[in-house]
């Protein structure tokens, strides 16, 4: 204890820990930037390795002159390296190119659709936390009992059911049969309920499952058993001690789930005709609008990388073991 002082200079325990955390944060940020660069390269390469994008865009009876004109318009007649450098330069300036189908900048199209996707994904995210956290804790605290069996069974079913099918069944029950909620549309709370619940189901299952498993493991550790032996009540043991340590893997999964909710939005938005980026992606693919496909792929990739970075950083800040091992 004598070594610990309120001195943040290197050499003291606190100083070492905080400089370790600082180094860890910097290295995480650098590696995320590298991953982002690679993500951008993959998005660029994806369009090019598929062969000639012009062949996808032109009608089969197009003349060579028409092909050459379109290639010049889209900049596809230049060497690949020039196109790549141009593309990276554009990204730095926030220019993702122009959609062929909509004839609008890709970034502004994504910007228009972004609020709908954020609304859907965040609602589903909050919903999944409200349900999964108590469910995971209750199941973990009552391991092997009826409540655990029921919750674990529901979790397993939730994990095995494709979200788009759940959406269809919800439409069938609540829109077609009971006629209490709309099957599609955007703009009111009623429109949001079915898509948000549909999208949240898989995340509820994943988060509750990880929380249950990590709580069960934590409750088997010696210091918890000591607490119980000393007469602490089960609720004190769980809330005051076990949950704090069990929450670390949960934070990772929760963060990753936020990313996968955005990915899952592709299907949910399609089922409920929700005007977000997921639907925009499917439209772009159907229209063979490759600058837009490239832009949406890049968008989803970037969101994933940023969410992962935030998860890693929160990990480094929350867990003293991670912090000091750096």
């Amino acid at each position: 204890m004598a070594e610990v002082t309120l001195d943040s200079r290197p050499g003291t325990t606190i100083g070492r820990a905080s400089s370790g955390a600082g180094r860890a944060i910097v290295s995480k940020i650098i590696s995320s930037v590298i991953v982002l660069f690679l993500v951008a390269t993959v998005a660029f390469g994806l369009v090019r390795i598929s062969g000639d994008p012009l062949a996808l865009l032109l009608p089969p009876d197009a003349t060579k002159a028409q092909a050459a004109q379109l290639a010049a318009e889209l900049g596809l007649d230049r060497p690949l390296a020039v196109q790549y450098i141009d593309y990276l330069g554009g990204l730095v300036r926030g220019d993702l190119g122009t959609s062929i189908y909509f004839d609008q900048p890709v970034l502004s199209l994504i910007g228009e659709r972004l609020p709908a996707t954020i609304l859907l994904a965040l609602t589903a995210f909050v919903l999944s936390l409200i349900i999964s956290l108590p469910a995971g804790i209750i199941a973990g605290m009552h391991r092997g009992k009826v409540t655990d069996t029921v919750i674990s069974g529901v979790i397993l079913i939730g994990q095995s059911t494709p979200a788009f099918w759940v959406g269809i069944v919800f439409i069938l029950i609540f829109a077609v049969r009971l006629q209490v909620l709309p099957a599609a549309g955007y703009g009111s709370v009623a429109n949001l309920i079915l898509p948000a619940v549909t999208l949240s189901i898989y995340s509820i299952a994943v988060v509750a499952r990880v929380l249950r498993t990590s709580l069960v493991e934590e409750l088997g550790v010696d210091y918890i058993r000591t607490g119980v032996a000393k007469g602490l009540r089960p609720r004190e043991v769980v809330i005051g001690h076990a949950l704090r340590n069990a929450s670390l893997p949960v934070i990772t999964v929760v963060g990753l789930e936020l990313g996968s909710l955005l990915g899952g939005a592709i299907l949910t938005e399609q089922v409920f005709s929700w005007p977000g980026i997921g639907r925009l992606t499917v439209e772009a693919i159907s229209n063979r609008d490759f600058p837009l496909v490239q832009g949406t792929v890049l968008f989803f990739g970037t969101v994933f990388v940023i969410v992962n970075l935030l998860v890693d950083l929160s990990y480094a800040l929350l867990d003293p073991r991670v912090r000091e091992s750096r």
Binding site: V42, L262, G263
Partner: protein
């Protein structure tokens, strides 16, 4: 899977019924031409949108009813199991192989190879597999093999991470150190000594991977971007059914049930394999 492991897996809760369900689905897939009552693509517009046999207008000729083109739903479900199982198994085989090789090499060689391979895993994780599949299908066109290869190539990370972390501890164990000391080459060590020791945890991932690949394939087919329309799949049946939800619920509900039951049975089996091979018995 050796006999002892099989016995431990079967002792897990719900494992035996799940494996029986899986075997039934496999039998359906293999014997589809024999047991399907009809040609799955045969259209008969005179009997379109017929409900299942137990409902008012239903007939025993079409036990689960017919779709908008008068095709027999039961026959399409039975044939659809072929695509689902084939895609699931092929994807798990491809991604398992890629992931095992990358994970073992990264964990055994360490150094820059490890760093590069693990950074590659980060990039891979930055793309949801369905998004990459969508993008690739957009440019290459849809097809059974396109779906299998895209999903196979994009699902290796979980295998690689598990294989790598196992190998990191295995490489310091006596049997590996001794093999190196007597001059056994690295490829031989990886193949003969490391691979067999990482197979059990990879088997769990493979099982869960089969289920997730089946669901992603059905999602792609649901979006009309998966397997071509002339091959019956559960996903494309769901997409057909969504248009007729108001009048003919059975078109969408039965393929969804088939998907859910298959994924559930595979996930329970995967959990049972994990619990049977996991030394941390208290997880159960």
């Amino acid at each position: 899977m050796n006999r002892q492991l099989l016995r431990r897996v079967l002792a897990e809760r719900l494992a035996a019924p799940s494996i029986i369900v899986l075997l039934l689905i496999v039998v359906c897939a293999v014997l589809a031409p024999v047991i399907a009552p009809d040609d799955p693509n045969a259209q008969d517009l005179l009997v379109r949108l017929r409900p299942p046999a137990w409902l008012g207008d239903g007939s025993s000729a079409h036990l689960l009813g017919t779709d908008n083109l008068g095709r027999d739903i039961l026959s399409r479900l039975i044939y659809g199991s072929r695509v689902s199982l084939f895609v699931g198994l092929a994807v798990a085989a491809i991604s398992g192989t890629i992931g095992a090789v990358i994970g073992i090499v990264a964990g055994f060689r360490r150094g820059w190879i490890d760093r590069v391979l693990m950074r590659l895993a980060d990039v891979q994780l930055a793309f949801p597999s369905i998004l990459l599949a969508l993008a690739v299908v957009a440019f290459f066109g849809n097809g059974l093999w396109v779906v299998i290869i895209v999903l196979g190539v994009t699902n290796w990370v979980a295998y690689a991470r598990v294989a790598r972390s196992s190998v990191l501890s295995l490489r310091e164990r006596d049997f590996v150190l001794e093999a190196r000391a007597i001059g056994v080459g690295p490829i031989m060590i990886m193949r003969r000594h490391l691979l067999p020791n990482v197979l059990a945890p990879l088997l769990t991932i493979a099982t869960l991977n089969v289920a997730s690949a089946i669901i992603v394939e059905s999602a792609l087919s649901f979006l009309g971007l998966g397997v071509p329309a002339d091959i019956p799949t559960w996903g494309s049946m769901l997409a057909d059914g969504q248009l007729y939800l108001g009048t003919s619920w059975w078109i969408a509900v039965f393929p969804g049930c088939a998907l859910m039951i298959t994924a559930l049975a595979i996930n329970i089996t995967g959990d049972a394999i994990r619990d049977a091979t996991d030394p941390k018995a208290y997880r159960r």
